[in-house]
Symmetry: C2
Subunit: 655 residues, 2 copies
């Protein structure tokens, strides 16, 4: 299942690809000369350029195209904000400690690995074929060996059922499982302490005094919510609108693994689209995307135990109610278009709906864009309708008006029971209790007011329960209080917007993309190729002088300067390796185009232009070649277009 | 002195400018709805776009133009790395605590403020005019009131001398000053505890166990040093080369103030240019910049108590030895060119040389690019020759080969005293001490070897001191040891490169730039204008339909889409405010160009194009207008060029 194939059908051998990525410095473990820190990676020049290009495309595709309000908010976040958002209490994993060795295990992973190892041992003991799930093997670190021990059939069933639900257990339940199934430290067989929650935020102290605890943000979203009011004003009070942020977030994983897919510091790009909850959350550009087809894996199919996706237009998904609303649907379509622009393989993309227990309690609907890699299907973009949950908690906590106030086109007529007190009599009567009594009266519900009005009419007096004032009962007579039904006219409407949140893990997208564009030529399987689209490729053009003959230098310099001026990144390889070798070194870096400078170039100022994917070449004048590159990089022409326009060249590329 | 004027000679009123920046959401205090956290700021849409444009220009000016190797390294940094770099021990300020109130003061600032207040009080008591130093007043927070108390003349002199040297005192000395001059909590008059060092790094714990302490990096530099070996290999072992990094760094200020100029989380862009220390650190492109004139404030002038700058070409500054070497000089010139491109006012830019005690002990020379603002001269870019200090400490600590090994063009002949041991006799003689004895012999200096060779020749035996082996003296006789002068040929050379480090504080540059481009029209002083160059401006074009007449909508949409496709950011203002008002609102945002859509546009598809700085307009066809904007934004034409080419328009802009 986790075997994944390249576009030419070869199996992606992850260790081969990883060795390429390390060798060519796409990324590497941080602080390696100090032994490294797990879950931290640095990007070298090609990885850094790839990341910058993905971010640039994201900004154009979302922020510029949709007129979003981009903000840059701080990573350091005070305790109170994340207490309110729920992260202090709930952003945690369960961990078990071995009291003897001090080792720490993530509880759910440990239970999973130990039981799986026992099932594997059972199969071995029964002489059955053991299928190796490459995906799971890759993630496993703790259980090194399995023992061939046969289990009772009932136990096998029990383990299998339990493993299917492993994500649903809380700490207490995991603790019970550990006791029940006698799960221990796999290395030493030592007993473990019961699971305790481990908060996944990095804690620190802001300023010199220890009374300002803070955290590194776990997401960029909170900063955007807190700025809502300012942004609404900046947008001249117009709704809907979206804010966006690109920045690092942090997650103090218990024991990170799986390379770039689970790291402690990562780049996110998040959008908060604020929308009026009334009127079905329509989107004014939904028409433009409604015929786009998506692979959907909905909740009910997952509940039935299947992972079969269904192809459906987003228009149909919304109209049938599978996707909750147009705005959510619009963003799912836009996310797909973005991923395809990057070079993601559409056959390795699906949208999986969250199960009810995966979402925040206030969320309406949530779909993850998942990308298939050798690690399995990986959540790379989340797209949730978070309703008004976030703005509401911050508003309740701070009293800040994180809401929209707008004039009603038609004033609203509201019939209601209103209460008037005769302040002259009221003050002297209740003295210091005045405010408490008044507040209690203000808080009376409409139903109760109606009943009290009748009582007052009938008896001339009413009795109200008010805790802490005299006997707990307060008597009020006609003249002191008046309760009448009146009509109130409301000219403004106040509401808390709902939020649709597309949230992108840039590092995960970057890694998955690399797997999707990776392949090798049938005649040279040892040498990898990364077929990034030109807009995304770290470097666009490689300049290759045929040899180190002195006449080539000035031409290389001139072409380089012209490319640079046009904003097209390029590198020169004037090493002594053969042309073919220099090109294939750059295929590994994903450089889409190569220009060769040869003796003919010196004579007539023509150059050859080579395409990475086909290895075909054309030859034309300097101006023609530069123009073609510009059109290719801007996505206005394809290589096929260029090849038809310009004469083919068949000399030179010899290894 | 801290009065600063706009380009039209008006005084920059900081509170007016700050109110504009807050109102138009350039930046604002983070977490304001929670009461804010000092030293943390968020960027709103215009600030965020401005920052992105500065970073983009930086990347083009440095990384692309100089083929630098950009990396993205993590902010989380383990303890050991920053222990080695010296930050754990030395990256600290001194703070005093008031044991009664718990208040914390930065010791040097407190001494400074209290003594300055006393000097001011003395002047008042003497009836002298008190000059208010706006710059210092702005920074002061602790001392609210001064008392008119006359001081002895000797005391005045003493205070003045002390204040001139305030940056040079360490914690003990500050503690002595606090006792000697009876400096207390200005608010409560309470006594303070002696100063203790406060490390300015944010501390945290990486992973679930408390034995991996870490910090948020105080600079991006360390990550680049640690990657040196990998980058050298990526660069095919070619020297010199530069790495570059753009990212957030952190500094846990004791009590931050002065807005964006002293914050706890900030964006940096740093270059580490690695160069061979032999041959005078020449730079192959120095010729291109040598005639550029810089305003220099050198060390000797500062020592004489003056701040008079001298204009000098960088060629002369290097040839006279004022700037240590060509590479350092080259970067100073490139920094100046970058700042001017951004729109920095050259008359408010100077390069100040560090005093010997300001630099790290291993640094050779250091110059700061300082920008003049209403807060005074602010260090915005540092440019230091750090010699081989950083690579050496990490190499010594880890043993990693953070150095260059290259073949020598001419093999080096080295005459030296070599020692040979007869291993057959040596092993049995020293048994378990063998290795210790051998190591001690290996470590003998050339001088000592020469002397021992003579002794051995003369006496047939020698005696060597070796701690821990037998009596501490070891006797060796001819036959067991041989010491001879021989010639060794060295084919490779190994050296630790020196590092030139230009280091940019993006937030400080951004704020200073805003002050430099801020002005207002003589006829409308209340309304500010931010004259960013087009490449840097947050939004390039404002689209203004004359009214909300339905015929304008499609035209606005079409022009908007065309601009977007050309990558030119734009916003539509279709509010009901007058054209003039809408334009002046956008002058505040620094939008350089405006397109008006009017009834004439509907008829003949012509539009007016307005220039922010002159408020002049031209009118031409859609294609002509779009082409002009593209040329203006790319910096290929100025407004003067466009105005000469296209017919002027004089209607419409009426308030």
């Amino acid at each position: 299942m986790a075997t994944i194939a390249t576009k030419t059908g070869q199996v992606v051998e992850r260790f081969v690809l990883e060795s390429l990525l390390r060798r060519r410095l796409f990324y590497f473990p941080s602080f390696e000369v100090y032994g490294g820190v797990s879950g931290l990676y640095d990007y070298g020049p090609p990885g850094c350029a790839l990341q910058a290009n993905i971010v640039d495309l994201w900004r154009k595709h979302f922020v510029l195209e949709e007129d979003m309000l981009e903000v840059d908010t701080t990573m350091l976040t005070p305790h109170e904000v994340l207490k309110t958002s729920g992260h202090v209490d709930k952003f945690a994993d369960w961990m078990c400690k071995d009291p003897k060795t001090g080792e720490i295990f993530r509880a759910d992973h440990l239970v999973e690995e130990v039981l799986e190892a026992r099932l594997k041992g059972d199969k071995e003991a029964r002489g059955q074929k053991v299928e190796v799930d490459q995906e799971k093997e890759a993630k496993k670190k703790k259980v090194k060996d399995t023992k061939a021990v046969k289990l009772d059939d009932a136990v096998v069933t029990e383990y299998e059922e339990l493993l299917a639900k492993i994500d649903n257990y809380d700490g207490d339940e995991l603790g019970q499982l550990i006791v029940k199934y006698d799960i221990r430290n796999p290395k030493t067989d030592g007993n473990l302490l019961p699971p305790v929650p481990f908060n996944l935020m990095f804690q620190t102290t802001i300023g010199p005094s220890s009374n300002t605890p803070g955290y590194l943000r776990p997401e960029t979203a909170q900063g955007q919510f807190l700025a809502f009011q300012k942004l609404l004003e900046f947008n001249q009070q117009q709704m809907p609108f979206a804010s966006a942020a690109i920045g690092k977030s942090f997650r103090n994983e218990i024991s990170p693994r799986a390379g770039l897919l689970r790291v402690r510091e990562f780049l996110m790009a998040e959008i908060e689209h604020f929308v009026d909850p009334e009127g079905g959350k329509k989107h004014h550009r939904f028409e433009e995307v409604k015929n786009m087809e998506l692979s959907l894996l909905d909740r009910s199919i997952q509940l039935s135990g299947s992972t079969r996706t269904e192809k459906m237009t987003i228009g149909k998904a919304v109209s049938t109610g599978l996707v909750d609303n147009e705005t959510l649907g619009y963003f799912l379509a836009r996310i797909q278009r973005f991923l395809l622009k990057l070079g993601i393989d559409q056959s390795k993309l699906r949208f999986r709906q969250h199960m009810a227990n995966e979402m925040a309690h206030y969320a309406t609907d949530c779909w993850d864009a998942e990308l298939q890699t050798s690690y399995g299907w990986i959540e790379c973009v989340g797209c949730a309708d978070r309703s008004c949950g976030d703005l509401t908690v911050h508003r309740n906590r701070t009293g800040a008006p994180l809401c929209v106030r707008e004039s009603r086109a038609e004033p609203l007529q509201i019939e209601e029971w209103q209460i008037n007190l005769d302040k002259k009599k009221f003050g002297p009567r209740f003295k210091k209790d005045g405010k408490t009594v008044e507040a209690a009266i203000d808080a009376l519900s409409q139903d109760l007011r109606e009943k009290l009005a009748l009582d007052l009419e009938k008896d001339g007096r009413i009795e109200i329960n008010i805790e802490g004032v005299s006997t707990g009962k307060v008597e009020l007579e006609k003249g002191l209080i008046k309760i009448e039904k009146r009509t109130r006219v409301e000219h403004t409407r106040e509401y808390t917007p709902h939020v649709i949140e597309p949230s992108f893990g840039i590092g995960r997208i970057l890694y998955s993309l690399i797997e999707h564009v990776y392949w090798s030529r049938p005649d040279d399987e040892a040498r990898g190729i990364l077929s990034f689209p030109p807009a995304v490729a770290p470097t666009k053009v490689l300049l290759v002088p045929l040899s180190n003959h002195e006449s080539f230098g000035p031409l290389v310099q001139r072409v380089m300067m012209k490319l640079r001026r046009a904003g097209i990144s390029n590198r020169v390889d004037d090493s002594s390796a053969s042309i073919g070798k220099r090109y294939s070194r750059n295929d590994e870096l994903g450089t889409p185009f190569g220009i060769t400078v040869d003796f003919q170039s010196v004579k007539d100022n023509t150059f050859t232009l080579r395409d990475r994917d086909t290895t075909k070449q054309v030859r034309a004048s300097e101006d023609e070649i530069l123009k073609a590159i510009k059109l290719l990089v801007d996505g206005e022409e394809t290589w096929e277009d260029v090849r038809k326009r310009l004469p083919e060249f068949t000399g030179q590329e010899v290894d």
